[in-house]
Structures are given as C-alpha cells and as structure tokens.
Symmetry: C2
C-alpha cells in the first residue's frame, strides 16, 4: 500500500507553510497567483489529494450524504438512488449507501452507521422507525430528507417528499369503475407500510365515490414481492372467485397475480383486470403490458438532493414538504 503524500509533503517541497498549501487547494484568497500556481503544480506532480477524512474531522463536513433504503435491488429504490447520485455528483457530494432489508432493527443500525460516518445529510427511504427514534438520529445531521413518510412534528432541518398514493389509488379505482368493475380486490402489501395505508384510503374513498360497497375481505395483506402477490391472489381466488379486478400493492405483486392467473387459467384483462403501482421497467415489457400507477422515481431522488442542496446553499425559499403526483399509465392489463 503506497503512502499518500500529505499536505506537509507538498509544503516542504514548495518551501511554504501548510496554510499556503491549504489555501491553494481550496482556492482561497491570500496568495499571490505565482505561489498559488507553484503550489498547485507541485501538489499535482506529487499526486497529492487532500484527505477527506482529515478534512471532515477538522471542518465537521464530510461532503457525504447517507442514503438509507430497504433494498437496492428493488428498481423503485435504485431509481431513487440514481436520481440522488445524479445531483450529488454535480454538487461534489458522495453517497453512502445503507440497506435496511425492511428490517426495523437494521434501520437503527443503518442510521447509526450514518452517524458514525458523520454524513452531512441523510436521505431516508420509507423509514419504519417510530418518529422519536428517527428524531434522535437525524438531529445529528445537518439536514435530512424523508422519502415516503410524513413528519410527525415539523422541523426546519427535515424535509419530506411523498408520493401521493391516495391520489394514485383513486386514479386506478376510477378507471376500473368506469370500465364497470364492481368486485375489486386490493392486495395491500405489508402491514407496516405507510403507502399501504395511503393507498387503502384512496381505495376506500374511490369505492365510496363510485358507490361500490366496501368489503374488507377483499383487502389482503401480502409481502411486497412476486411471491406475495402470487400467494395472496391464489387465496383470494379460492375464496372469492367472482372478483373481476385487482389493484396490487406494486408491480411485482401484480406480476405475482399474473402468475396466479396463469396457473388458474384466468385471462388478463378479460377475466381479471390488474393494475399495479410503480411502473418498474418490467411493466412495459411483460405481456400483457401492465397498467400501473407511476411516479417518477428518478426525479424523486433528484429532488431529494436538491432540497438538501438548497439548504446547504442557505436558500431561503425551500419547499420543505413536496408531494409527487402519480399518473395512471394505461396499458393492456386493465
């Protein structure tokens, strides 16, 4: 392992003080153009790069943002990550990635990792931890952005970006209702999910609006993957063979429904109409192409970094609580 040159190596080589090198490296005033250039040249020639660690210790800023998410493998989140990276990169920031595996214990650990690493800010995707716990952690970040979670109590250092799931669910049900569906099931996803609650609200409100009686047996809890959708759809069909439409918690769950329909010989969309959430890349490729409620995830990630940036820049007019309106993408499955 090669030893990296330090600031003192450069200083010695250029016969100047540490401070002059520091000033040169940070484009700070107080140096003649000549010495500045000389220092920079020598630094360059030595291959000197300032240590981010030392700098972070001295300044208490790491130019790093923590990104906490349940699963990078999930396109929903990887898109957000990409969007965040987009603008982080343009700001000269780096991303620290922590997975939570949807596990509340790992969430704590993840937040602690971010603390230890002294990230300047954090983007927390769908945190499940109770507010007081989150609070305890985020009070050590300069700024944090909550994705898909509302604030329990307002803070000047905590923004939120939420997808308006209620609206999205209404969009979906409205479409199904217009097509004449009366028996509509909702595979609602995992119990603790926030978006589940919001979508369920939209589901119920839309039913009421369209004068469709609400039957709680048509709302099933399921894990948020294909297996979950398959399982839920299978039980659903065995108990209520007369349902004609299914709103799925997300696209993967919807594909689980596809699978179940295939096994049971039910055709989509003729016998069963299916609508998903998310619009993952898969949705437009699989047959039948999946109708789904889409929100722009990459933009979500970008916006998250941009509020952070606005905060850092001391910008006055920051929209602290943003909401993203999804749209219904109609394809073949409904």
């Amino acid at each position: 392992m090669e030893k990296r040159p330090t600031i003192s190596d450069v200083a010695r080589e250029a016969s100047v003080s540490l401070m002059s090198v520091s000033r040169a490296m940070n484009n700070r005033p107080g140096l003649s153009d000549k010495t500045r250039k000389r220092i920079l040249d020598i630094a360059n020639q030595l291959g000197y790069r300032p240590s981010g660690v030392a700098r972070a210790l001295a300044t208490n800023r790491s130019f790093t943002v923590g990104l906490m998410m349940p699963d990078v493998t999930n396109p929903f989140f990887s898109q957000i990550a990409k969007g965040a990276e987009d603008v982080a990169y343009s700001m000269g920031y780096n991303l620290f990635l922590v997975n939570t595996d949807e596990d509340i214990e790992r969430e704590k650990i993840a937040l602690n990792s971010l603390l230890d690493k002294q990230v300047d800010g954090a983007i927390l995707c769908s945190p499940r931890l109770p507010w007081e716990q989150i609070l305890k952690h985020i009070s050590h970040f300069q700024f944090t952005v909550l994705i898909n979670r509302e604030l329990d109590e307002p803070r000047s250092d905590c923004a939120t970006i939420n997808i308006d799931d209620t609206f999205g669910a209404k969009l979906a049900i409205e479409h199904l209702s217009n097509r004449g569906h009366k028996k509509i099931a909702f595979l609602a996803g995992p119990d603790e999910s926030t978006s589940r609650k919001r979508r369920l609200r939209g589901f119920m409100q839309a039913l009421e609006y369209h004068k469709i009686p609400y039957d709680e047996n048509l709302v099933l809890t399921c894990s948020s993957d294909m297996a979950g959708g398959f399982k839920a759809a299978t039980t659903l069909f065995s108990n209520h063979d007369d349902i004609t439409a299914i709103l799925a918690y997300n696209d993967m769950v919807a594909f689980g429904v596809f699978q179940a329909c295939e096994e049971l010989g039910k055709t989509i969309p003729d016998q069963v109409a299916v609508i998903g959430f998310d619009d993952i890349p898969l949705a437009s490729i699989i047959k039948p192409k999946l109708s789904t409620v889409r929100a722009n995830k990459r933009e979500l990630g970008q916006r998250a970094m941009r509020v952070f940036q606005a905060f850092i820049d001391g910008n006055e007019d920051i929209t602290m609580d943003q909401t993203i309106l999804p749209s219904l993408v109609l394809r073949k499955s409904a």
Copy 2:
C-alpha cells in the same frame, strides 16, 4: 444540529482517562470489569458513539469499502451491490457507492472519491480504465477486487472475479446448434466491453466446433439496453432476413430483439430463437420467457467481499482469481 458527545465527555463524566474509555469502547483488555461496565453505561446514557472519522484518521482504517459500478439501476449491478452489502454488513463494514455511468472520465473521478474517503478496499465493477491508471489508484487501497476484468499484472493486493463469458456463449451456441440453427447472429454490445470480447470468442469457437461458417456481418455492435437491441435487430433483419437465431449481449438487448420481432411480425422462438445473458428478474416473467445465460450475481458480490475479508483477516489461502461458471437457463425463447 445537536452536538455529539465526544470521548472526553465520557471520560470526564466517568472520571477516567480518554484511554480507558477508548479501551472500553473497543473491548480491549486492560480494564477491570467494573470500570469497563461503568464507562459503557455512562457512554450509553450520554448517547456516545465513537466518531468514525476521527477513528479513521487515527488508525488509517475506515471500515468502509468503496463500490464502483456503472449503474445501480441495472439489475446486474444492483444484485452485486446487494451481495456485497450482505457480507459487508456481517463484517461491520459499510459501503461507499460511486456511479460511473459507463463513462471513463467519471471512473477516474469515482476512484478519486474513493481515495479521498480513505476506503479500506474497493470493489470495482467492469472498470474500463487502462491498467496503469487503475493501478495508480488501487495502490492506495489495502485491497481491491476487480469484477469482470482481468489483471494485467499480478498483485498480492488485487483479486479478480470473472464470469466465464466465453464458456457461457459456448453453452448458448451449442444449444442453438443442437436445435439445428445455422444462421446465428450475435448482438455483441458496446465495443469497449470486456465481456463482449469474451463472449465473441466463445461464439466463434463454438461456431467452429459445430462447423458453422463465421460471418462477421452477423456480429453487430449495439448499446447495452433495450433500445440498442431493438435497433440492432431491426438493421439485422433488414439485411439478413434469413437468420434464425440471435444471441444477445444481455437480457435487455434480448428484449429489444423481442420488440423488433413483434414489430416485424416474427414469432419467437419459431421464426427466431433468442438467448440473452444475465437472467435479470424480468427474464422469467416476460412472454415468451427468455432463455438466458445466467451467473449468480448476488453470489458474485458476496464472494467479492469475502476475499476482501479473507485478506483483512490475514487468511493465507485466498483464491485470488476466481471465475464463476454461468449456466444456460432454458425457457421459451430458444
């Protein structure tokens, strides 16, 4: 932003020296069980957590591994990331994520970020940079793992994990040949790609073995996404309408071929057989289900971290150059 307690806060509160606190926090010998417990209690009560930054500066170890990849959004890489995270987490390490967007300039910048952040090790996915440049960077890491790239010159601090693409391509062609295909095209992906070269080698060797004449017009360069596959397939069909099988650079390219076939009214697999590479989640869902050459990416990521771990642990018998044998997953498209 709340001030975090430091080691001296704990020391003062417990009326001991900094070192005792340090020893307690790191479970190091040289403390009576009583004081140890007392210190730990006070630390806990104060909410003290050691600063990773300060620790990294003092010890020159950050317990952080840099993960460089072209695009988190690509399932191929996000799976690797997940695998790496799996075992990093179990080792108490964290991941630093940097995107390169397949851009060679951004690769340099990414590597520099990792340097600045003083990561202990790096996992570099498909680095495109010339060896000497890579070398310059990785000589500052304790250890690095190259994914999908061979070593130009052996080093005791640099391991590789490669997918045996040549073998994979042979597997595919063998299958197609056995089914009687003679006119087989290869949508080979981008020019600079290493796996392209290896797959092309396998493609050619297999053709020769099966006594199929090689026609260079049947090998097309394309971008590694759906659009690339669509475009390449479209030109291919307009020039060589008689080809009966296509080996695609990856699954997304294969789906591009699907798209083209749909537009041209060609049926898969009857008129055109298609085989992809990767086996992304999509592959088993889309209709017709895609036959593809699969390597276990999550395991790849896990293995990468495990060689790193072995190195850190001073393990003697590390397999420095591992290769992962892909298998042919036969589904409906070929």
